[in-house]
Amino acid sequence: MSGNLIDELLAGKHRALARTITKIENRQAGYRELVSQLHEHTGDADVIGITGSPGAGKSTLVDKMAAAYREQGLTVGVIAIDPSSPFTGGAVLGDRIRMGSNVGDMEVFFRSMSARGTLGGLSTATTDAVKALDAFGKDKIIIETVGAGQNEIDIVKTADTVGVLVPPGSGDDVQMLKAGILEIADLFIVNKADLDGADRTVQELKEMLEYRDGGVPATVGHHGAAGSGDGFEQPESGDPPEQRWHPPIVETVANKGEGVDDVLEVLADHREHLADSGELAEQERMRYAEEIRTLLQEDVRGLLEQEIDRQGGLDAYVGRVRSKEIDPYAVSDELLEPIAECLEQREE
């Protein structure tokens, strides 16, 4: 089943889809051609990113979301990403255990991926795996990952809509969110809303969003805040208010399925907003640009590694740097010189 893998994938064979993703993950010989061929068949799926701290309930929510989409007659692909050991490369990928609502339903294609230690590589592999699911014909594709750092943020950025899970009582986590995840969230999901502290978390999130929108929350101070009735001032400049998307906060109890329909509704609203405001096209443009940049970076790095090997490896340079014979910048210049020369010649 090697030659016509793409044909089999397009014909709906699960095994071919699974094998395609494996080739993508392994960067097996010929995987680039594979992904190139997939490209023209993509663009029909809604891609949703779900992120949040470990134990926030991502897998459980994703399971319930998948089941709800299935009830609507839609097909679903899920990519769940777990960290791997930086030492052995091994990993236990446990998200599948929570997929209890979609037992034996092959129309939910669930795939676990590990971070495999490479930085840029993971977002490339994820993007490519999404393409495979999209070309296969999945209506909804959900990417699930722990929102721990830049790497994960890069991954969920490949989604049209991003949901961030915030468990109750995570005051400090909410603070942490400010660093970057806040900016990428299109909706916040306060999961385990039946626990104590859920109201408070919702409140904290609301305040934070109001600050972000450039206003002052009504709950802060006695003075100022003379703005609009809803408690914060809308900035006068910028997009007209109705054009802007304000991330809603949805409360869920994922393991009981409560609030899952609300999440789906907000996701649909956001999708509509993206289409109406023209953001969808803009997003797509930016995503492709980002994808090309990442690919270029990795490819150039690959070329350089080969060049370094040809020059006898980095060790010799490192030795000379240690003995102060040469400095790291000079090494970089020296190795890059042929490339720079080549580019100069092209300009002429």
């Binding site: 095994r15 699974a18 052995t88 495999r116 990795e298 790095r301």
Partner: protein, 138 residues
């Protein structure tokens, strides 16, 4: 590492099927496989054969290790084998069974397509070595 550098990692599904609540062994094996540098997907307890098939096909695992301590291997393993065949996943998946399996049954399982049966006393190193040696070429 460049984009074209191949990164083959052995993927395993450690599966518990049927009414069998003993998962200590499966946990220990999952961990040992992880430490050997494999990617391990653990099924969780009380899975139906169809679920195991679904997971093995979608995850495209190299190795499927089924842990059965309930004595129901004669019913459950054939169902899994049939399912794998239905999705063209049987040929290139290394099938292992671990647990309490009588010798006569071991022969039957092997005739079905199980590559090896590991009983009590099997060592982790032995198992990991077996997987490395016999992982299907793809």
């Amino acid at each position: 590492m460049g984009v074209d550098q191949e990164q083959r990692t052995i993927r395993c599904l450690v599966a518990k099927v049927g009414l069998d609540g003993h998962d200590r062994g499966a946990h220990v094996i999952s961990r040992a496989f992880r430490d050997a540098g494999f990617e391990v997907i653990y099924s969780g307890l009380h899975r139906a054969p169809e679920e195991i098939v679904q997971a093995a096909v979608q995850e495209d695992v190299d190795v499927l290790g089924i842990s059965i301590l309930s004595g129901a291997h004669d019913t459950l393993v054939p169902k899994i084998v049939d399912g794998l065949q239905e999705y063209d996943a049987f040929e290139d998946t290394l099938l292992l069974v671990g647990g309490i399996i009588p010798d006569d049954d071991e022969d039957e399982l092997k005739a079905l397509g199980v590559s090896e049966v590991f009983g009590p006393g099997a060592s982790m190193d032995e198992m990991i070595e077996f997987v490395r040696q016999n992982v299907p070429e793809r």
